[in-house]
């Protein structure tokens, strides 16, 4: 295709868009709608994964001391943990604290009114800078004086990794389903709009326009519709997310596990997804229906 033709096709694509404002608006708003649905879903799943990753990066390691451990062992362990580079944070719990917490979790707390507190040990909870350090940390600390057991709560960690896999699957499934629906609806729209322009197309053919000459402007038009729809959807999604973020995160501390991703971090991802799907669906939908319906 010569440069002139490319230019002419682009011009035609733009013109078609403006000449049929009805078709244009319908197509753009439909594609935007689907992308908004997809966007909110993406935002949800990204946040779910974010929260899980944050939670997974902080596996609550629990150190249980022997019963009747001395103050020296406790002070030594305090020092050891404070100096260990792998440790992000740690917290010591006295037997009394452990008992209170335990009883708080019970329904029938009065059952334990005369429970002998001496049976309950000191404990530590430790958060590491990286969950992958957990096993070596366990080996190291288990050998220290006064330590009875270092539990990694692998159940939580494996739950989290399972959950991430599931969220990934669900995301993929939603993408496929919503993507197919968008594609389907858009290509229906394009088909109808090509049908509406059937006469114009046949006139072009009678004058001697080649198949590509007719097809390309429609594909460009579809891509433009997708582009605009993507931009609109992106705006709506980001605006909605930002409102939600500022409402929900108003009183949140950065250290909270249940934090939403900041709007800025999603902006580019959502824009990219929208552009790829919008432009892809728009142009491919056009191409498919122009090809099929015009029988060029």
């Amino acid at each position: 295709m010569k440069l002139t033709s490319v230019f002419l096709s682009l011009r035609e694509g733009f013109r078609n868009l403006v000449r049929h404002p009805l078709v244009m608006l319908a197509s753009i708003s439909t594609i935007a709608l689907m992308l908004i649905l997809l966007g909110f879903f993406t935002v949800f799943s990204l946040n779910a994964r974010h929260i899980m990753t944050v939670a997974g990066q902080q596996p609550p390691i629990e150190i249980t001391m022997r019963n009747g451990v001395g103050d020296k062992e406790l002070a030594d362990l305090d020092r050891y943990l404070a100096n260990d580079d792998d440790v992000l944070e740690f917290q010591r719990y006295s037997p009394q604290e452990n008992f209170n917490q335990f009883v708080d979790n019970m329904e029938n707390s009065e059952l334990f009114a005369d429970f002998p507190i001496d049976n309950i040990p000191y404990t530590y909870t430790v958060q590491l800078v990286d969950p992958s350090l957990a096993e070596s940390f366990q080996t190291r600390v288990a050998g220290l004086a006064g330590v009875r057991k270092v539990s990694l709560e692998l159940a939580v960690m494996s739950f989290l990794s399972d959950a991430i896999v599931w969220v990934n699957y669900a995301t993929l499934a939603a993408f496929v389903v919503l993507g197919l629906i968008s594609f389907f609806i858009i290509s229906n729209m394009v088909r109808i709009s090509v049908f509406a322009r059937g006469e114009e197309i046949s006139i072009m053919k009678y004058i001697g326009a080649t198949n590509w000459y007719i097809r390309v402007p429609y594909i460009i038009e579809g891509a433009l519709v997708g582009l605009i729809g993507a931009a609109v959807a992106w705006g709506v999604t980001m605006f909605g997310y930002d409102r939600l973020y500022s409402t929900l995160m108003a009183g949140a501390k950065p250290s909270d596990v249940l934090t939403m991703l900041p709007t800025e971090q999603l902006t580019i991802i959502i824009l990219m997804i929208n552009l790829v799907i919008g432009v892809g669906v728009g142009s491919l939908g056009s191409a498919a229906s122009v090809r099929r319906h015009i029988q060029v």
Binding site: T4, L8, Y206, T210
Partner: protein, 251 residues
Amino acid sequence: MIEFQNVSMEYHTGTVALKDVSFTIQNGEFVFIIGRSGAGKSTLIKLLTCEEKPTEGQVLIDDFDIARIRRSLVPYLRRNIGMVFQDFRLIETKTVYENVAFAMEIVGRSRRVIARRVPIVLSIVGLREKAKALPGELSGGEQQRVAIARAMVNNPMLILADEPTGNLDPTNSETVMALLEEINRSGTTVVICTHNRELVDQMKKRVIEIDDGYLVRDDAVGGYLRHTPCSTPDNLPPATTTGIGPEGRQP
């Protein structure tokens, strides 16, 4: 050279529009095709543009059988033909200028050439001030003239005009005919379907008459009726009649 060899054409509805039609048109000829409404004139034209295919026989352009042409080549065939359709077939969403320019864009002319040639052609058909109007904003005759402008803008080898003066007043009709004659003189083959008795009688050109699908007359120099009517001011010499009388039918 256009050659119809025993061409028959049956539409899918069962209407047989052309029946065993044979004739030859040399390059550079000027031919009228006449015949009553529904006789098969437009069908004959459609065969030349590959809009329809003959059910029997062959349509040859320069010894090339266009019924067996590859579909992807049809556009290139059509670019060499300037068509004036009976129903105009203007693109409703393009202005007069763009409709004419479009025919040039298709064949890949540069913008400069287009910008120079289109206004000239529009002036010739008397529509220079209507360049920016959409087809829907034109009178019937004006639309017809746009179609004529579009047909001639590429200086095609062959002009096929289906009823090009049906919506034109006598003055405009004569202008258009004079124009087509002018183009013909520069070597372009011109084939015109028409009901305009006066024009056919005046022009003194070859006349092919179709009736009910049959070729019933082919006069090298003919009038609208087989025997030049007495009401025509200029009496024509009885032309070389190769066909049968206007009412006659082949079996």
